[in-house]
Amino acid sequence: MNLLEVQSLSKTYGSGNTAVRALKDVTFSVRKGEFVAIVGESGSGKSTLLNMLGALDAPTSGKVFVDGKDILSMNDNTQTVFRRRNIGFIFQSFNLIPELTVEQNIVFPTLLDYQKPDTQYLDELLAVLNLRERKNHLPSQLSGGQQQRVAIGRALFTRPSLILADEPTGNLDSENSREVIALLKEASAKYERTVIMITHNQSIAQSADRILRVSDGVVSDLGRREG
């Protein structure tokens, strides 16, 4: 069953002489529970693609279906609620709320949904992310790897079906990168989440279930790993 379906997606920035065709008629689909890595040259259109998948930006043409719903044709409010419940984001620069503790950062999206945080799930997640001892610390008191793990926790806590990550290890050293990716993989496998992640790191890409290559706005499928 396909969780994500992208149909002839195109994006052109600007117009006339300065127009940049960042995405050219992209079509592909992702199965539920898949761990997908997106690779490609700098400026090839990876981030542009990811932004469309998260409905952060509007495409020039084309459609994106998540869980069978056309997310790009929704109005802003519906999009927000949909994003809140179905999509988790992980950023290169962590983007945690500096004034909130680890625990508060993780539960914050639930509060935005006016829900009561599930404390049992929170404990479990903190254990998986190896952040139990740190739950009352502020982001500034954590290392980069730890901060990114908090971000992963935040992305997972609302139980979204799709997690989008743009170079989540871009700001980390290789040791931390490996640890974070391992956790991301473990968590997504445990809770059956679909992950789409941009990376420049060859070995991380290799560890994914499936690799998509973007070059000059065109997406080509490098195939699934057997398993």
Partner: protein, 775 residues
């Protein structure tokens, strides 16, 4: 944490330092509004009390209404109390005397003292029968009457005796004219008036039950009884202060307070929303992230609004409490320090209106200020979360070799390059200047509109009946020797016909002694007062509309020539249409022959009291009069002082707001560019160069702000000046150079200080910190 909005509170707690300026802004706004309205409120209470004391607690007065018709108002349900009131010899121009002192006789009913002139009775009670009378206190103090004594009134129709049954307080009028007031029962009064054949104009005082809807009641009464405007006079002062009349002092005060509130709110909103807007732009990435993790636009708006409201938590108590304390202080100073008409000022009270208005204005200011930044934050696209690495506008050119001129010009270019920013900054600087220039007109107004006690204003005047010249030097010496008299100075006076430049005219020739010359020196516009004092034949004149004489003119008196050799701006004498000419005593004798003083003025020592005045009285023979000016002097003094304090504190606040607004704008603009400055430091700009650059930038704003401020502020200033001063006193508008200097100093000074503070913080923090501060 239960609710996402708690984030706002936590954010505010963590960013106290950054929002200190904003919190101070709110504190200032709350403080000013609470204080202004509390003071007006206190003044309202005090005035109501004072008006009831001075004018009586009545609402309307019926004139020339037939007795039966007037008394029928008792049937009206709305009437609380009513009584007859009439006077004999009110103007002291008829022959009514008590022991040689002019006597004013009042006839009324007991309810007058019970309900209307409530604070007047000092001793005893209202006359119980036709043969009793109440006297004003000076009859007791000066003539030694006591309750139970018999007092014999001299009336044109002959003598009649009454028994003194009590005393009422003096008025400043009765003290100045040295007259006595007597109150008779209305029936006794009527028969006395009849005996003397006086035309009577009885008045009927009416006090209504409640203070609301009085105007309607009055209109109904008029319609019912067919009374005209002439029949009904209103106690405009009391009705006015109760808000039942349109033009009056308190409505004016509330108006001033309302204008102040508006100004404070506008400036506050301007400042707070400015700094919040800058803050929101800095945190675009944060708001983008919130949108990504599922915050809706409305939620983002709420978070920003709540952040602003969180400031109120600390700002409101500080503002309100400091204002309450400040008001207590001001009231205490007014009531105890200045005294006079401020004596009854309430101390230690809390004005509910003031405090609630302060809180309300705090809320409104914050909510209005937050609305635009909140909308701006809500508009931030979720993509902003991803734009982690913005590129800096400055490329890798080396800054190491930048010369002094270059960093300054860079600062100026920086200021000018962003048109919108320049416009905002110029606008905010100009607003400060315009505010100051408009309000400073009030300074000119107090000097013109309010009379103040001059150094020569006497406490006591001694004069002969008809101002005949009968007071000799020896008498003046006697007065001087009384314990408690600080100084005594006499004036000789003659109404003389003189040969003026172009024809014959009269002048008032008045002589001064040394001490009066000394005081006059301060009022000298042109010429030399010492010449007038030392040389016979020299005189001085007072500048004014009715005076044709000017410096250098000559006049002929008794065949000799007088030279005008000094021009004064002011004198103790009121304008009478006849030019006042002042000379030395020697000149006076030389031209008019030896003569005595017509008037001797006395100033008393601070410690002197009524016993000194009694001693002076003992020296007076029958044909000498005494005018006690002490009460009116205190009244004038306290009014002037209070107004001066009001105007100056108002102006000080406006200046403070102006300076604060400027400092806030500059530091805001620096804070917004902090990262840019960090980048510049990273690529080689040193601290000194950076300082110079930021200062140059601030100065650019100051110059453009001053230009714009003058362009709008000066026309406003001249317009207000013409409306408030030229129209009444004819003084033409002049360029307010002193005010301009002051406000320019404030503008440049505060922008330099404002530029210095963030520069210091920038240079203290490391480059990396500065660049990373907003990641």
């Amino acid at each position: 944490m239960r609710n996402y909005l708690e984030l706002a509170k936590i954010h505010a707690r963590h960013n106290k330092r950054q929002s200190r300026m904003t919190v101070f802004c709110i504190v200032l706004a709350v403080f000013l509004v609470t204080s202004a309205f509390s003071m007006v409120d206190f003044e309202y209470m005090h005035m109501t009390e004072k008006l009831i004391k001075d004018w009586g607690n009545w609402h309307i007065l019926l004139n020339s209404v037939p007795k039966e018709e007037a008394e029928r108002v008792w049937e009206e349900a709305s009437v609380q109390t009513a009584c007859w009131y009439d006077t004999l010899n009110y103007n002291l121009d008829k022959n009514f005397y008590l022991d040689g002192r002019p006597l004013c006789i009042v006839g009324t009913e007991s309810s007058f003292l019970d309900d209307i002139a409530v604070e007047v009775l000092r001793e005893g009670c209202f006359p119980q029968n036709d043969s009793e009378t109440l006297l004003s206190l000076n009859a007791k103090n000066i003539s030694g009457y006591a309750v139970g004594d018999s007092a014999t009134f001299q009336t044109p129709a002959g003598e009649c005796s009454y028994m003194v049954c009590g005393f009422i307080s003096d008025t400043s009028g009765s003290l100045a004219s040295d007259s006595i007031i007597a109150i008779l029962d209305y029936a006794a009064f009527e028969s006395l008036a009849e005996e003397n054949g006086q035309v009577r104009e009885a008045q009927y005082y009416i006090q209504f039950k409640k203070s609301l809807g009085i105007q309607r009641t009055i209109a109904e009464l008029k319609a019912l009884h067919g009374w005209t405007e002439e029949n009904v006079s209103e106690n405009t002062a009391l009705l006015g202060i109760m808000g039942m009349s349109s033009s009056n002092y308190v409505v004016g005060l509330y108006g001033i307070a309302a204008i102040l509130v508006l100004l404070v709110m506008l400036t506050g909103i301007f400042m707070i929303s400015g700094s919040m807007n800058a803050n929101v732009s800095e945190r675009a990435q944060f708001f983008g992230m919130l949108r990504c993790i599922g915050a809706g636009k409305r939620q983002v708006r709420h978070i920003v609004t709540c952040e602003a409201l969180a400031w109120l938590q600390s700002a409101l108590p500080i503002g309100v409490i400091s204002s309450i304390i400040a008001c207590w202080g001001v009231c205490a100073v007014l009531a105890c320090g200045i005294g006079g008409e401020w004596e009854g000022m309430p101390v230690g009270k809390i004005s509910v209106t003031g405090v609630s208005l302060g809180i309300l204005v705090g809320f409104i200011t914050v909510l209005l200020s937050a609305s635009s930044p909140a909308r701006k934050a809500a508009k931030v696209s979720p993509i902003a979360a991803l734009s982690g690495n913005q590129t800096c506008a400055f490329s890798g050119k080396s800054w190491r070799n930048v010369t002094r001129a270059a960093d300054i010009s860079l600062g100026i270019r920086h200021a000018v390059s962003k048109k919108k920013n320049l416009l905002m900054m110029t606008g905010s600087f100009a607003l400060s200047i315009i505010l100051f220039l408009s309000i400073s007109v009030m300074l000119g107004w107090i000097t013109h509109a309010l009379t103040t006690n001059k150094p020569y204003t006497p406490d006591i005047c001694v004069y002969c009946d008809g101002y005949a010249a009968q007071l000799d030097n020896q008498f003046a010496e006697q007065l001087r020797n009384i314990e408690g008299v600080k100084c005594a100075y006499g004036r000789k006076h003659i109404l003389a016909d003189v040969q003026l430049n172009a024809g014959v005219g009269s002048i008032d020739l008045i002589s001064y002694d040394d001490i009066q010359f000394q005081w006059a020196t301060k009022d000298c516009l042109r010429g030399n007062v010492a010449d007038v004092r030392d040389e016979i034949g020299n005189v001085m004149v007072v500048f004014g509309k009715g005076n044709p004489l000017d410096l250098g003119d000559t006049l002929e008196l008794n065949g000799k020539t007088l030279h005008v050799s000094a021009l004064l701006s002011d004198s103790p004498f009121s304008e009478s249409g006849i030019p006042t000419v002042i000379c030395s005593e020697e000149t006076f004798e030389d031209f008019c022959g030896a003569s005595n003083y017509s008037v001797i003025d006395l100033q008393l020592k601070k410690s002197a009291g009524d016993e000194t005045v009694a001693q002076i009285r003992e020296l007076l023979s029958d044909n000498l009069g005494l005018s006690d000016r002490r009460a009116s002097k205190t009244e004038v003094n306290s009014t002037y002082l209070a107004f001066a304090i009001l105007v100056y504190s108002f102006l000080a606040m406006v200046t403070l707001i102006a300076a604060f607004n400027i400092m806030n704008s500059v530091s805001m603009s620096v804070a917004a560019k902090r990262r840019e400055y960090g980048m510049m430091r990273a690529i080689g700009l040193d601290k000194r160069q950076l300082t110079r650059m930021i200062k140059a930038e601030a100065m650019t704003y100051a110059v453009s702000g001053c230009l714009a401020g003058c362009a709008f502020g000066l026309p406003l200033n001249s317009c207000f000046y013409k409306m408030a001063i030229t129209n009444y006193w004819g003084t033409p508008w002049k360029l307010p150079i002193a005010e301009l200097l002051i406000i320019f100093t404030v503008v440049f000074g505060s922008s330099l200080i404002a530029a210095y503070v963030p520069v210091k913080r920038l240079s203290e923090s490391s480059i990396v910190e500065t660049i990373n501060v907003f990641f």
